[in-house]
């Protein structure tokens, strides 16, 4: 981990700060963000993938749906204006500010199991996002069956004309911030991605800052 992380970085919206959490490299995080509140995700070290799932706080069976989100906006990338929709097609959150430019909806989360396919069986016992989702999700009664395709904030996944797709070097940098507004009370489940075998974290996972603001 880089020794030069400034935990105060970030571009925060005006309002009362109701939570300001430093999430160490490789760690999970979760919170219920009340409808109307803003969640800012600050990439403190630069090019740090932040894997993220959303659940309607009062009905976890209704959750973020990558397909519903990309079909409604007609694009695979998330940026300012993107509405993060549930599997019932309803808005859970809206991206209201984005200093990075685009974020991934296709790549899903890394897991110990998929690492064996991508890099070889020597990676089986490395830490992975699914481990974070399962351990943090359990605190809210969520389990394996509740995991679906997730958002990857700050991860860069282009699709070539012939369909070739892959995680490539990021376009983020230290202090860049994306802010989402909760449209309903939303449980946000995050894995600060521990992947070390591809460029999604610049091969060096770093901390992120999660700030909840009440306008």
């Amino acid at each position: 981990m880089s020794a030069t992380i400034d935990p105060t970085l970030g571009t925060l919206p005006p309002g009362e700060i109701v939570a300001d959490d430093f999430v160490p490299a490789r760690a999970p995080w979760s919170a219920v963000v009340a409808g109307g509140d803003l969640l800012s995700i600050v990439d403190l070290g630069g090019n740090q993938a932040v894997d993220c799932l959303l659940y309607k706080a009062d009905d976890h069976a209704e959750r973020y749906s990558a397909p519903d989100t990309i079909v409604a906006q007609g694009s695979i990338f998330l940026t300012a204006g993107s509405v993060l929709r549930s599997n019932a097609g309803r808005p859970l959150m809206t991206v209201v500010a984005d200093e990075c430019g685009r974020h991934d909806t296709l790549g899903g989360a890394c897991s110990k199991e998929s690492n064996t396919l991508r890099y070889g069986h020597h990676t089986k016992h490395q830490h992975a996002c699914v481990e974070n989702f399962l351990s943090e999700g359990a605190r809210w009664g969520l389990g394996k069956r509740d995991l679906v395709s997730n958002i990857n904030w700050y991860m860069n996944v282009p699709v070539e004309q012939d369909g070739t797709l892959g995680i490539v070097d990021g376009i983020s940098s230290p202090g860049l911030t994306v802010t989402v507004r909760a449209e309903v009370d939303t449980l946000v489940l995050v894995s600060n991605c521990p992947q070390i075998n591809n460029p999604c974290n610049g091969f060096d996972p770093t901390p992120v800052r999660m700030v909840v603001t009440r306008p």
């Binding site: 519903d68 990309i70 079909v71 296709l106 899903g108 064996t116 699709v159 070739t164 892959g166």
Partner: protein
């Protein structure tokens, strides 16, 4: 027929007299009675033969080694497909891993349909369409059908993840724009080799990006027959390092489970 069902005996006769009728969409039982088995397939090896109308769904538990042929008979079917490990349905199709691990967003021959456990649920071994989509999921109507089919296998709404769809192409354009390219026309077929015992769920509804006015899906034809899973001596096994390790993980599971 008024008056024919006014007693239990008459009602029974009335019900029984309906046998033998046929419908546009229906299963054929036994599957060996299907009138047109594929070349080289003995009728006795057929395990599933069913047609599914637009707006309909079907599901089946299929054994390892089965070939499942899905045909867009009339050119406007769209098969929204989900697969689960029949032993432990919390292991299921993961569309993110299915595009990420092969480094390829577009499905075609040789593409594995991967579970969240680093294993292959099925491999695409034949594809005369080339027009499919693993990104856009299904519609509200498709999800309703998937929930019904899933319920019949004891599964709940949270067990229904994003699905993939066959016979309707979506391509990603500049700046990530989704472009709908529709179907390849009547008669296109996809053959899946089932690599683990699976629950297969298919809903037949128009693709979510199908912008025709009042789109309707046409009939889907499903045919399955017994066969062999992908083995190390098959060319497909080592076609890519990622697929080889996925098939190795699959073989590891069935060996330990003693269902190889």
């Amino acid at each position: 027929m008024k008056g024919a069902t006014d007693t239990t005996h008459a009602a029974r006769e009335h019900a029984r007299a309906q046998a033998g009728a046929s419908a546009e969409a229906m299963p054929t039982l036994p599957a060996s009675a299907w009138p047109a088995p594929p070349d080289g397939v003995a009728p006795a090896d057929l395990t599933w033969a069913e047609t599914v109308a637009g707006g309909g769904y079907a599901s089946k538990v299929l054994g390892r080694g089965t070939t499942l042929r899905i045909t867009d008979r009339d050119g406007a079917a769209c098969a929204h497909l989900l697969l689960y490990n029949a032993d432990q349905p919390w292991e299921r199709l993961n569309v993110a891993d299915t595009v990420k691990i092969p480094w390829q967003a577009y499905l075609g021959t040789g593409h594995p349909l991967l579970s969240d456990q680093g294993r292959v649920l099925a491999t695409i071994i034949g594809d005369s369409s080339g027009r499919h989509d693993a990104l856009c999921g299904t519609t509200a109507a498709g999800r309703r059908l998937q929930l019904l089919a899933a319920a019949k296998h004891g599964l709940e709404p949270r067990d229904v993840p994003p699905s993939l769809s066959l016979f309707a192409a979506v391509r990603v354009g500049a700046e990530g724009a989704l472009e709908f390219e529709g179907s390849a026309g009547a008669g296109a077929a996809v053959e899946l080799r089932i690599e683990l015992p699976v629950i297969a769920i298919l809903a037949n509804v128009p693709h979510p990006l199908d912008r025709r006015e009042e789109p309707a899906a046409t009939t889907l034809e499903l045919l399955a027959w017994r066969g062999e899973p992908t083995r190390p001596e098959d060319e497909l096994w080592s076609s890519t390092p990622e697929l080889e390790r996925a098939l190795l993980n699959t073989a590891d599971y069935v060996e330990a489970r003693d269902i190889a």
